[in-house]
């Protein structure tokens, strides 16, 4: 385990979760960080997307493979790993549903793996109503109207979801996130 905390280049002790060695400044082998940790964010449902983007750009400006074209193979490999993991995590955190999923997954509720049928009737009825409206919207004006209605429901759902996360009501948050995933898909389909 000692080797993990030593810089592979200069052998001095490094912070276990740092990207670079404090001593010689060389890029370090990626250690496992969850999506929030990568960007130094608290594991919360509502995050400041501007902070996320700034941090993303800052990290990529230091760790992107373009910065390592003349470096050793080790450094190239590490940069590749860091960079793709940063991209992937950025994408997941930017989206409300997948960000909620990361938190839910770490508490035992995994939406992606949940291929099983979902039967919250009240919720599915609401979703079906909205979907019917989407189907019936033929011109731009009615599409815009239903699009706005969906956006309003999405905002309400996000607020409600945030409260459930604060209360650590994982099961309820999981169910509401299912609703949010339906709504987001609908929004994308109509716009």
């Amino acid at each position: 385990m000692n080797s993990k905390e030593n810089c592979w280049n200069c052998k001095s002790i490094v912070k276990s979760k740092g990207f670079f060695c404090d001593h010689c400044g060389v890029i370090q082998k990626p250690s496992y960080l969850d999506e929030f940790e990568i960007f130094g964010l608290k594991k919360e449902f509502l995050i400041d997307l501007n902070v996320l983007e700034d941090k993303y750009l800052e990290l990529q400006s230091k760790l992107h493979p373009d910065k390592f074209v003349n470096s050793s193979q080790n450094e190239k490999d590490f940069s590749n790993e860091h960079s793709s993991r940063i991209n992937e995590s950025y994408k997941l955190l930017k989206n409300n549903v997948s960000r909620a999923n990361i938190i839910l997954k770490s508490n035992g509720y995994d939406l992606e793996k949940e291929s099983k049928t979902f039967g919250d009737e009240k919720m599915l009825e609401d979703i079906m109503d909205l979907q019917s409206k989407c189907m019936l919207a033929e011109n731009e004006i009615s599409k815009k109207k239903i699009g706005n209605e969906i956006k309003e429901v999405i905002d309400e759902t996000i607020n409600e979801l945030n409260l459930l996360f604060k209360k650590k009501s994982w099961k309820e948050a999981y169910n509401l996130n299912v609703k949010l995933s339906y709504l987001e898909k609908m929004k994308n389909n109509i716009s």
């Binding site: 049928t117 039967g119 009737e121 299912v178 995933s181």
Partner: protein, 128 residues
């Protein structure tokens, strides 16, 4: 990915689209969803109270072609069957008939769950 002719037929010309009166005592409604892919399926059956035979079936599905074809097919299959027979239809029969690709198997599971939910609803309404 190539879809089978049967699947495309059901998708392009779905049978039994529509709805029955949810409040009616001889109608059972099943409403199910698959969170991972965003499909919602509503399946309804009208049962003859004397014979226990399903006289009519309707569906409304929002989802991919496979989900629509699976619900169309199962409504065709259950018509004229007794509820017990309809309850024993397996998703694998639907998947095989439509030659669903592996990533679309869950659509047939959804259809099986929907018919089971509809039958449960009918039974609950007609207890005693």
């Amino acid at each position: 990915m190539a879809y089978s002719k049967k699947l495309i037929d059901h998708y392009e010309n779905p049978k039994n689209v529509g709805s029955l009166n949810k409040e009616s005592k001889d109608v059972g409604t099943g409403l199910v969803g698959a969170p991972a892919c965003g499909d919602v399926m509503k399946l309804q059956i009208k049962v003859n109270e004397q014979s226990g035979v399903i006289e009519d079936a309707k569906f409304k599905t929002f989802g991919c072609g496979s989900a629509i074809a699976s619900s169309s097919l199962i409504t065709e299959w259950v018509k004229g069957k007794k509820i017990e027979e309809a309850n024993s239809i397996k998703n694998t029969e639907i998947a095989n008939h439509l030659a669903l690709p592996p990533v679309k198997i869950h659509c047939s599971i959804l259809a099986e769950d929907a018919i089971k939910a509809a039958i449960d609803d009918y039974k609950n309404k007609n207890k005693k």
